[in-house]
Each structure stands twice: as structure tokens, then as C-alpha cells.
Symmetry: C2
Amino acid sequence: MAYTLYYWPMLQGRGEFVRLALEDAGAAYRDIAREGDDGMGALTDWLDPSQDAQHPPALPFAPPFLVDGEIVVAQTANILAYLGPLLGLVPEAPAERLFVQTLQLTIADAVAEAHDTHHPIASGLYYEDQKDAARARAGDFIDSRMPKFLAYFERVLSRNPAGDKWLVGKTISYADLSLFQLVEGLSYAFPRGMTDAASRFPRVAALRTRVAARQRLRDYLASPRRLAFNEEGIFRRYPELDREPRADAGA
Amino acid sequence: MAYTLYYWPMLQGRGEFVRLALEDAGAAYRDIAREGDDGMGALTDWLDPSQDAQHPPALPFAPPFLVDGEIVVAQTANILAYLGPLLGLVPEAPAERLFVQTLQLTIADAVAEAHDTHHPIASGLYYEDQKDAARARAGDFIDSRMPKFLAYFERVLSRNPAGDKWLVGKTISYADLSLFQLVEGLSYAFPRGMTDAASRFPRVAALRTRVAARQRLRDYLASPRRLAFNEEGIFRRYPELDREPRADAGA
């Protein structure tokens, strides 16, 4: 039976982390809000208290959320924790599964911070109305936070006793797919900020290449199902927010 | 065997969500960085790449993290997902456990946004150097985001088929403890912003009272183990950031 993903239809956003897992596993799924107005209405009905009677009690706060028969699961990292065993995208050992989820939640933190570079004051206001604060926050992100996150994932890869191919154990997990997406997004949003990232974080860069070369993901990334990055999503290319890191930067 | 919690010793912070679960369950645990310099050194060693050789590969990005024998688990919500079954703080049904974690991650989002009201530009800079942006962000949080989160939890309580006593099912879960802490923190940081919260979100207010009345939590909250809220933590009382919601506010 197909999974049903509920996410905004015009952007990669947080939904993309779920799409990558479903696509890499070759799972059957509906991306319902991209099917048209009825699908979009099905999504917004979940967020409308006046429609609660038609839904089970496990209401989401926001997309993405996933419906699988009787199961409703929201929050990107939680959706992936649910799907991981079903899609073969986690190791078997409980301690390793916990670590995959630790990493996923750390990626989620990095994603939230990347978002806030263009919306540091309020997600409900226009970017144009918070541009000065955005420039300050983006500068700190480039100098301090982004290298701190990337250095952490580099360190985790270097410490994996099974080798530095994947983050945890000897097979790919959903956290590897999500790290690929994080680096893709950062490279889109901050081409200057990421200038020397591949040489500073070579294991992370190699993982990105390795993920992109997987057959099903190559097909997906070349397909119309893969939306392009754009300035509606989390990772936005605003040239005024991008610059090279300061010489003394780096966590 | 006792759990070992690693968290900063001078603030409630994210560690408090873990402490509340351990305390409510009456679990034996060490709050290691509060034991003195050696404990604090044990914490900072985990964050120091030059000390990696003494640690297993499941490195945390930041506190809090928990060590339980061979298990290392980081990220607040992930620590609670691990502890939940061990402490009897989750329902039995898998679908309900998923929903508890959905709620916990939504609380985590609210916590991150509460933090960013005083640090909208950079967590590494002083509050004093980002006060104007903080005032703008706090205003949006009070008018828009805080009521949106509280309305969601109110709605979840009202929709629980087992009654509106707890968020999921008929027994307390770690998400209930965390919602208590969120409301405590918001009430500390924004007494004016929360002025009419108890009447607008009565089920959330009742849950807060219900949690505070639990015997082991009462003992904990009155003990020196419970740190006071202060201006080093997530929830800070800066009067200049607090005001009543605008008349037309509310999500």
C-alpha cells in the first residue's frame, strides 16, 4: 500500500528529506498536494480545526506529515524514524538506530538555522522586511554555525568504525540522505560561503557525491518530481546574504 | 544502574526536559556537570575532538546527552524517545508512541523559537548586541507563534478520545511533562504575553497544574535540584521583550 506524503507542492522544503528516503527505497507514495486542488485541499483540511471530525486524533502542527493506513506521523525526523526500518534505511542495532536519529535531529537544527538566515525575525513576514537582520544572521551562519555543523558531520564520518562511507555503520541510512540534501541546499544558498567546504570537509563532500550517484536517486534528481531549489523554500539564494567566510572564522 | 545526564550545570535549558522525566519516574541518575569540576570536564571532553579516542563513535553535537551503559543518546526529543518506554512515560500502542514523539518535536520547535526571541541574530553574540531584532522577534512570537503553538496543544487535548487529561491516551507521557515545562518557561519569560493564556487555553493550563501536583515532581520542584529560571537559559525574563498580545493577534 502506498504512503501518502502531505507537503507544500511548490518547494523542496522539509518534505524533501522524506521524498529522498521514499525515492531512494523505490517506495510507492503519493505526494498528494502535487496532484491538484483536491490534494491541496486534503492537506489544508488537516490544519483546519473545523475539519477535525474527519481526522484521527494524531493531528500534525504543520507539514510534512505522512499517512500510512491508520498511522499518522508528523515532524520530518519522526517520519524518517518511522520509515527507516520499513524502507531498509537504518542499521539493525538499536544503539545505531538511536545515533541515526541523533544525527537526523542535528541536521534538522542546521536546517532550521539555514531557514532563519532569511527569516530571522518572523516567518510570517516578508524577507524584504527583515533584510538587515537577515544579513547579520547569515554572516554568523557562514562564519560560525555552518562550519560547526559540517565539522561535526566530518568528525562523525571519520570516527565511524565501519569506515567513512556512511555516517553510521556500514550501510546507508536516512541520515546520509538528509546530509546530502543539507549540503545541496547550503551549496545552493551560499555558493561563496561554501567555497572551500569540499576541501575542509572532504568526507562530507564524498558522501554527497556518493548519495547523488545512487541509481534511484539519480533518476529522481533528473525527473520532474525533483523540484528545483527556489526562493520559497528553506535554502534561498539571496546574493546579498552570501559571502566568503571571514579569514578567522570556523568553529 | 543509574543514567548519566550531561548538561550545563547553571541553567534549566533543554536538559530540564530530560530531568523532569527522570524525576517524575523516580529514576536514579547523575547530573554529572553539577557534581563539580571533574563532571564538567567529563562533559566538555565529549565536545573536544582531541578527546575522541576515549569515547564511542556516537558523538553528540551538543548537550544534553545521556549515557546508559553502552548507549549514548543526544538531542532532547531523542533522549526522551529512548527513556519513555524505560520510565513508563509512553503509551503501549506504536501509533500513540509516534504521536507522543510528534508532539515532543513540536514542543522542541516552540522551545527553539522561544530561545530565538532573545537571540535572533546569533547564539554566540550577547543579547545586548541584538536587542532591536530581539524586540521585533519577541513581538511576533507573542502575537503569532506562541498562541499558534498553544492553540495546537489545546486542540490535541480536546481531541484525545481518552479525555483531555493528557495529550495522548489515558496516561501521562514525557510530552505532557515537556508541555508543562514549556508553559512554565513561557510564563516566566512573558508574564504579560501570557496574560490571558489560561482562559484561552484552559486544557493546557489544567495540564500544567496537574503535572505540578504529581508527588515526585512537587518534591523535585521544591528541591535544590530544580534550578531557578534565569537569564542564561532558554526562557529569559527581559521586560523590554514582554508585552500583552495585540488585540487582533492570535493564530
